[in-house]
């Protein structure tokens, strides 16, 4: 039975009957014996893949299975920044597709994801960064991504709380993407989950994959803590644990899992209506709708699956941000957490066929996956439905390292992004 639509009329109707008529946002069925497509991982990327499989390709006999709870991995742990100002063409294409899909997502899935295109500013604090961002702005112009390089006066105008005359790293300019912004991260997962459930797909939480069954070099199904599930096609979309799933499927992925942390301050009155990223000093900050300052920094340097990172990274991030925003120096920090991110050698993702036939991976988003959720799902759905990558995913194969065709955003960004 299709779910009731959310609308202003629904709110009015429920107000009149003491909110007794709201139904659960999505169904939680027991798994069936067999599906056309099984997607492992009900985070943003996995759910977006399922959503576009149904929406663009008419494949609706789909299960999305999740070890923990829906959106409880990196989807619930990021700093919600959305931007597409990448240097390399394949990156700009997929991130810009994603950003543009975010603009209409609330209407598409009938769920308010609170997309806020408030603008993203990446500070240039060294001469090297000035030249780098000017180059990126030119590249973006060619790619059709609206960005501009702005000087320090404009930076101060856009974000008055910035100290542009810092002693170590004065602000020399910034790469400004006015259409970038933030969105409510949980709502992205919940909105896709609801839309998938509405299309008849099964979202199965608390269901861990323990083995991937293979027959004659093809995928046959998965063994889970809720029993055996057969599938014709399998999508592995599990971010930090991609390496573990790949091992079950019998191949190795060119990525390593490390911890990336974020933290939020106590809520304060509105003081900052843009997202600011300071890559040289390694910190980024925005203000949530609740008033908390949302802060992210660098990733740890060693392999880790614990979902908590090293304290000294927080210290470095906060130190850098206090220098950039002196007014936050007396804020108390409320919460800190970590997520396990899967880093590739060129800091670009993998959306690819694998050595196991009918098994596909979408991983390697590293420190910047949230912004890519709708576009990543779009490209992954195309790959899974057709068996071959479409134009968005074509460059992101897992074999690109062997073939030397890197999409080198690590050099382009010079920093985790």
């Amino acid at each position: 039975m299709p779910l009731k639509r959310y609308s202003v009329f629904a709110v009015a109707r429920e107000a009149l009957r003491f909110h007794t008529g709201w139904e659960r946002a999505w169904r939680s069925p027991e798994p069936k014996k067999k599906y056309d497509v099984v997607i492992v991982g009900a985070g943003g990327h996995g759910l977006a893949t399922a959503y576009w499989l149904g929406k663009n390709h008419g494949i609706r006999n789909v299960a999305v299975i999740e070890k923990g709870w829906l959106g409880g991995g990196n989807t619930g742990r990021n700093t919600t920044i959305i931007r597409s100002n990448y240097l390399q063409d394949p990156s700009a294409a997929i991130y810009e597709k994603s950003r543009s899909l975010y603009e209409t997502m609330s209407q598409d899935v009938n769920y308010n994801i609170m997309f806020s295109p408030r603008g993203v500013m990446m500070l240039a604090q060294t001469q090297h960064e000035v030249r780098g961002f000017q180059r990126t702005a030119h590249a973006n112009a060619l790619q059709g991504v609206a960005t501009e390089y702005v000087g320090p006066d404009r930076v101060k105008e856009l974000c008055p709380i910035i100290n542009i005359d810092g002693p170590r790293y004065p602000v020399l300019g910034a790469l400004w993407q006015a259409r970038g912004g933030t969105a409510r991260h949980d709502a992205v997962a919940w909105g896709y989950a609801r839309a998938c459930s509405d299309m008849g797909m099964d979202i199965i939480q608390q269901c861990e994959v323990t083995a991937i069954r293979r027959e004659n070099g093809k995928v046959a199904g998965v063994s889970t803590t809720k029993g055996e599930i057969d599938c014709a096609k399998l999508g592995i979309v599990v971010a930090g644990h991609s390496g573990v799933l790949a091992e079950m499927a019998g191949f190795r992925l060119p990525l390593e899992s490390v911890a990336l942390q974020a933290l939020v301050s106590e809520p304060i009155k509105p003081c900052m209506d843009v997202v600011v990223m300071a890559n040289t000093v390694h910190g980024y900050m925005s203000q949530s709708d609740k008033g908390e300052m949302v802060i992210g920094g660098g990733a740890d340097g060693y392999n880790n699956y614990t979902q908590r990172g090293s304290f000294h990274h927080i210290e470095e991030t906060v130190r850098a941000l206090i220098e950039t925003f002196p007014m936050i120096s007396r804020l108390k920090m409320l919460r800190q957490w970590g997520g396990i991110v899967d880093m590739t050698g060129d800091r670009s993702p993998i959306i690819s066929k694998t050595p196991l036939e009918n098994c596909f991976v979408n991983c390697g988003w590293g420190t910047g996956g949230f912004k890519a959720i709708p576009g990543s799902g779009w490209a992954m759905a195309e790959l899974m439905a057709q068996g071959e990558p479409g134009p968005l995913a074509a460059a992101f194969t897992m074999n690109r390292f062997r073939e030397g065709r890197f999409i080198d955003e690590s050099v382009a960004a010079g920093v985790a992004h």
Binding site: L253, P254, G301, N303, T306
Partner: protein, 107 residues
């Protein structure tokens, strides 16, 4: 905070004193190797959920490289040892086997 004992100078170091160097015991592909071997050598790192062998450098101390055996799930350290070896020494393997009876062994 992660604490490793540098086997070169026998000092217990906080991780702020150290620099991580990635997977240990990676053997270099020779000039006649094919693409597969080079991919293996350059990009396909082990990424285990569990026992892992790593290179670390005592950057803010003696400056020497050494190896550590560590669990990536609990951050437990099984031991550190000299970098001048192609595979982990027996006492490290024994220490891991004692703590992780199900461990498949170094391969």
């Amino acid at each position: 905070m992660l604490t490793l004992t540098c086997p070169c100078c026998n000092i217990a170091c906080d991780e702020t004193e150290l620099h991580p160097g990635g997977q240990a015991h990676v053997s270099r592909a020779g000039p006649d190797s094919g693409d597969d071997a080079f991919e293996q050598y350059l990009f396909l790192r082990k990424n285990p959920r569990g026992v892992h062998f790593e290179r670390w450098r005592h950057a803010m101390g003696c400056g020497k490289w050494f190896h550590a055996a560590r669990c990536t799930v609990t951050l437990e350290v099984f031991g550190t040892y000299s970098a001048q070896t192609l595979e982990p020494p027996q006492d490290i393997l024994d220490a891991i086997a004692a703590r992780r009876p199900d461990w498949q062994g170094f391969a």
